[in-house]
């Protein structure tokens, strides 16, 4: 069982909880951010990849003769050439925890059999990107097309072609998540509801795509700059694949222009560019363009669910059972945590008597998948909330009532679920008051008065609906994150962490946490992250984890630095520690003008040759902490929205959107609101706009922003955010993550509202996203039936 922490700090928080302006912003606002492509080293060469136009084919030959004749071209490499500097050509498996078959990961460059459109088969290096692209077009690759799988349901058919010829089955993995006697639950059920549901494949689409630059030209040391969410894992894989000692490899993540999951992976391109730099002895840079992002950066969320829910006479959930297919894509770069999160996340904030889900993780000739913002939890919430809406109609009770009857109550917290996480530890909902949040939001949006408003609107020929949904998200994934707090002899306060900033405001949040203990202002704290030379270990930015994990480490380290400063000052100022206070960078003796700066204390602790350090302290005014956790902090969201549906066009307009968030204690409410705005907007994209289409040849057909629609400002309403703070008991700050939380209940909320607007048509939406055309089809189908 996890340790419960006391969150009292001994003083009124000054910096934690404040809407501090972000320390990241001034340079970004002036256009002085330093993103990957802004780094311009002299002598840099530029790379372009040649990618497969086929979903499945054998490469017969690659002819680069014409390309190599083009002035400015330095090299064209295929798998064969790169192999000369690589230990192996195949990428190691990320998160190698679940028992999975061998030979499932992508290649640094594909040697023979291409398995999705966009897979890289060669790389051109030239003096400019323009020339590299010109040359890439001159490379003649002869392919022998093979039959392909475009849909994970097709993949399991008896005569389905193999996704990869090396793979004995298109089913990568089959697992079940189960507890209780689910068959008994169904045989005793008062009512059973059933649904076939699906969520669709979308991409992460940070506005800055991926990018990497590698330099091997100085002292045989490899320096790699990458727009990544995981600089330490990248270093490790570079070492493993290039056969280098860790001390000879430095990875730096510069300013990262958004990640949303797609940069939480070491990609073949990152290894290929480092290999090019080694072969050529010059810096080599590759910056992904948007067309490449559409066909080679990971995607998520394509799942097909057949599920049913057994309900008792009081609308209590007796059991849920069914099956789910998860479209894994052509390769498995990083385990199967996404379908696992979805499968274990269904019961979410609810008490469910028994559960049995069979999951097939299925390969297709499409872009590989790993988590995108939400990581399986949005799919889980979609399934659960859709079933509850259906049950509410079947049982004739209110949507709010059926939820209220089944939510885990505040008194039951911490609530241990019967489901285990992928490491085998039980899932524990640590804190929260779900029902209170539901009531708070429904009151705020005037749910009670909505029926009358809806009727009045209908009188004017307008169809409005109100929907709502719950979502929980496990945040703060361990095992640890590093945090070092250091004061320099000049009095500069620095934080070093293996966490990684990609736009969330991480540096500001950690600066606030540190500043709280050291009596300085957040803007005085320099946060260094993403650079493996300054920080030896770290896991990076994912799973809404950094405030919980890095925050806790920085908090505990800052407390130690504070204690040390007081101890030393007490000796030098000859005063009891109880009479000291730490303020504005000085330790002061209360009620006197005696003081000592943190810089002076730091200088003392750097030592003078031959002289002893102050008594009972170690050298340096600094401390490192690697706070560990085995459990997750579960954030909770309850969203409600009002929509208007145009029944002539199928268009959906969001009229109001209210969201409650329990992310425990808030370090900076302004940043948390911003995270929610972005997260909800991502969910709106998944509900109404973002559709990554593949045809029957597994050719992607939505590869521009004119075809794949991201939400823009005119589709998004002003969000009304309400906070409820239940401090997380299992970490020292009482915080929970937020980065992904906003996304989790959105599709379920909007679909519930659309259904509500279209009660006359008896519509129950089952497939996300719903475009105007799809919604109009639903409406017309129902009209034909009735």
């Amino acid at each position: 069982m996890a340790i419960e922490y006391d969150h009292s700090v001994g003083h009124e928080p000054r910096v934690i909880g404040a809407r501090s302006p972000r320390v990241e912003d001034p340079s970004l606002l002036k256009g002085q951010g330093c993103f990957l492509d802004d780094i311009q080293l002299p002598g840099t060469l530029h790379a372009a990849f040649v990618r497969s136009p086929h979903a499945h084919a054998h490469m017969v030959s690659i002819d680069a003769t014409q390309a190599l004749k083009l002035p400015g071209v330095h090299a064209v490499y295929t798998a064969k050439e790169l192999e000369s500097v690589l230990v192996k050509l195949r990428m190691p498996l990320g998160f190698p925890t679940t028992a999975l078959p061998q030979n499932i990961t992508p290649f640094v460059l594909c040697p023979k059999e291409v398995c999705f459109v966009g897979e890289a088969v060669a790389v051109v290096v030239a003096t400019s990107r323009h020339i590299a692209e010109d040359a890439a077009e001159l490379i003649a690759v002869e392919y022998e097309p093979l039959p392909m799988v475009h849909d994970c349901r097709q993949a399991l058919e008896a005569n389905a072609p193999a996704v990869r010829l090396e793979s004995p089955s298109n089913e990568l993995n089959h697992f079940k998540v189960a507890y209780g006697d689910v068959d008994a639950a169904f045989s005793q059920a008062h009512r059973v509801v059933q649904a076939s549901l699906s969520t669709h494949r979308g991409a992460a689409h940070p506005i800055e795509g991926r990018g990497v630059m590698a330099d091997f030209s100085v002292r045989s040391e490899l320096t790699v700059w990458s727009s990544t969410q995981m600089s330490h894992d990248l270093r490790q894989m570079l070492c493993e694949l290039l056969g280098l000692n860790e001390d000879r490899v430095r990875v730096i993540a510069p300013d990262v222009g958004g990640g949303f999951g797609c940069k939480f992976l070491v990609y073949p391109e990152e290894i290929a560019i480092a290999a090019c730099a080694k072969l050529l002895g010059q810096p080599v840079k590759w910056v992904e363009d948007r067309s490449e992002h559409f066909v080679s950066a990971i995607q998520e969320r394509e799942q097909f669910w057949d599920v049913e829910m057994a309900l008792g006479p009081q609308a209590e959930i007796l059991g849920i059972r069914g099956q789910m297919l998860h479209d894994q894509g052509a390769y498995t770069p990083q385990g199967i945590n996404c379908p696992y999160n979805a499968a274990t996340g269904v019961t979410g904030p609810y008490k469910v008597g028994a559960y049995h889900l069979e999951v097939s993780v299925v390969q297709t000739n499409k872009v590989p998948t790993i988590p995108v913002r939400g990581a399986g939890y949005p799919e889980a919430a979609f399934v659960m909330e859709r079933l509850l809406d259906l049950a509410s109609v079947e049982l004739g009770i209110g949507r709010e009532q059926i939820r209220a009857r089944n939510l885990v109550s505040k008194a039951q917290m911490p609530y241990e679920k019967q489901i285990k996480n992928r490491a085998g530890a039980p899932i524990i909902l640590d804190s929260g008051d779900y029902l209170h949040c539901q009531e708070m939001v429904l009151k705020h949006i005037d749910f009670e008065g909505f029926k009358a408003r809806q009727l009045a609107a209908k009188g004017q020929g307008r169809y409005i609906g109100l929907g709502f949904a719950h979502g929980v998200k496990g945040t703060g994934r361990g095992p640890f994150e590093s945090g070092t707090v250091k004061v320099s002899p000049a009095g500069l306060v620095s934080v070093y962490t293996g966490a990684l900033a990609m736009g969330q405001g991480l540096k500001t949040a950690l600066a606030q946490i540190c500043a709280e203990q050291l009596g300085v202002s957040a803007s005085d704290v320099e946060v260094v992250c993403g650079d493996t030379r300054f920080v030896t270990m770290g896991l990076g930015g994912f799973a809404s984890r950094q405030t919980v994990t890095a925050g806790s480490s920085v908090h505990l380290a800052a407390i130690q630095v504070r204690k040390k400063a007081l101890k030393v000052a007490s000796q030098i100022l000859e005063a009891s520690e109880d009479d000291l206070e730490l303020w504005d960078g000085f330790v002061k003796v209360k009620g006197t003008d005696k003081q000592l700066s943190l810089g002076d204390i730091s200088r003392k602790l750097r030592g003078v040759p031959g002289y002893a350090l102050p008594l009972g302290v170690e050298a340096g005014l600094e401390y490192s902490e690697h706070w560990q956790t085995e459990v997750l902090a579960y954030s909770h969201s309850f969203h409600a929205c009002e929509v208007e549906v145009d029944v002539q066009t199928g268009g959906v307009k969001l009229l109001r959107y209210v969201a409650s968030q329990d992310s425990g204690k808030l370090i900076n409410p302004m940043i948390v609101e911003g995270q929610l705005h972005g997260g909800i907007t991502h969910g709106i994209g998944n509900a109404l706009f973002e559709f990554m289409g593949y045809d029957e040849q597994a050719q992607p057909f939505t590869t521009t922003f004119a075809d794949y629609l991201l939400p823009t400002a005119t589709e998004i309403p002003d969000f009304e955010i309400l906070f409820h703070e239940s401090p997380a008991p299992f970490n020292p700050l009482g915080v929970k993550g937020v980065g992904e939380s906003g996304t989790v209940p959105v599709v379920a909320t909007i679909f519930s509202a659309i259904d509500d607007a279209l009660r006359d048509w008896n519509i129950h939406l089952k497939h996300a996203p719903v475009s105007p055309v799809k919604l109009l089809e639903e409406i017309l189908n129902q009209e034909t039936v009735s």
């Binding site: 302006p21 972000r22 990241e24 912003d25 001034p26 970004l28 606002l29 002036k30 256009g31 002085q32 951010g33 993103f35 492509d37 802004d38 311009q40 323009h130 010109d134 077009e137 992460a204 689409h205 940070p206 506005i207 800055e208 795509g209 300013d255 990262v256 222009g257 958004g258 949303f260 363009d289 948007r290 067309s291 990609m502 736009g503 969330q504 405001g505 302004m670 940043i671 609101e673 911003g674 705005h677 972005g678 909800i680 907007t681 991502h682 521009t704 922003f705 004119a706 991201l710 823009t712 400002a713 005119t714 998004i716 002003d718 969000f719």
Partner: protein
């Protein structure tokens, strides 16, 4: 793909007269970033949708990825560097800071440029007008709401403090029209 002819262009960049030899096929975004070393203009999609590369040409917001550099011959070009005062931040930039109108900051320079044009044309834009202008930009982080708020705050401050309203270089452009 041919011999990539070179052409000399002369134009005004952020208030400075500049003459450069450029390849005819070079787009304005690549030219500004790679040849003029003004890396504040970002490239997000290279097909004219995301708006990250937006700059002002003759005072109008354009997508630098859809314009050839040769097309700015004899014209005025303003990038995010040109709307940034020598010290500190402009009112619009400050408002984005105080209202949390940015997160990763990659789309921000283009957004600031478009809103600069909006605020030049409309002293009191409505939230709907602002959203309309922002609809030409993709942002994956903010959900746009705080950008709208920041622009409203900036517009009010500019009305209240007209002398600080626009960075000096913009006054010159404005006067020229």
């Amino acid at each position: 793909m041919s011999s990539n002819p070179v052409k000399t262009i002369a134009f005004n960049l952020n208030g400075q007269n500049v003459q450069e030899d450029i390849q005819s096929r070079l787009n304005l975004a690549d030219f500004l970033r790679q040849q003029c070393h003004l890396t504040g203009t970002h490239v997000g999609c290279e097909h004219g949708v995301c708006g990250a590369c937006t700059v002002l040409v003759e005072g109008r917001a354009v997508r630098a990825c859809l314009m050839l550099a040769v097309q700015v011959d004899q014209k005025n070009v303003i990038t995010v560097e040109g709307i940034t005062p020598e010290r500190g931040l402009s009112i619009l930039q400050e408002s984005f800071w105080s209202e949390h109108g940015l997160q990763c900051g990659f789309c921000t320079p283009g957004v600031l440029i478009s809103l600069t044009q909006l605020l030049k044309d409309h002293a009191s834009p409505s939230p709907e007008q602002i959203r309309d202008v922002l609809s030409g930009h993709l942002c994956r982080c903010t959900g746009y709401q705080n950008m709208v708020k920041a622009c409203m705050v900036a517009a009010k401050r500019m009305r209240d403090e007209p002398s600080n309203a626009l960075a000096p270089v913009l006054h010159e452009v404005k006067d020229g029209h």
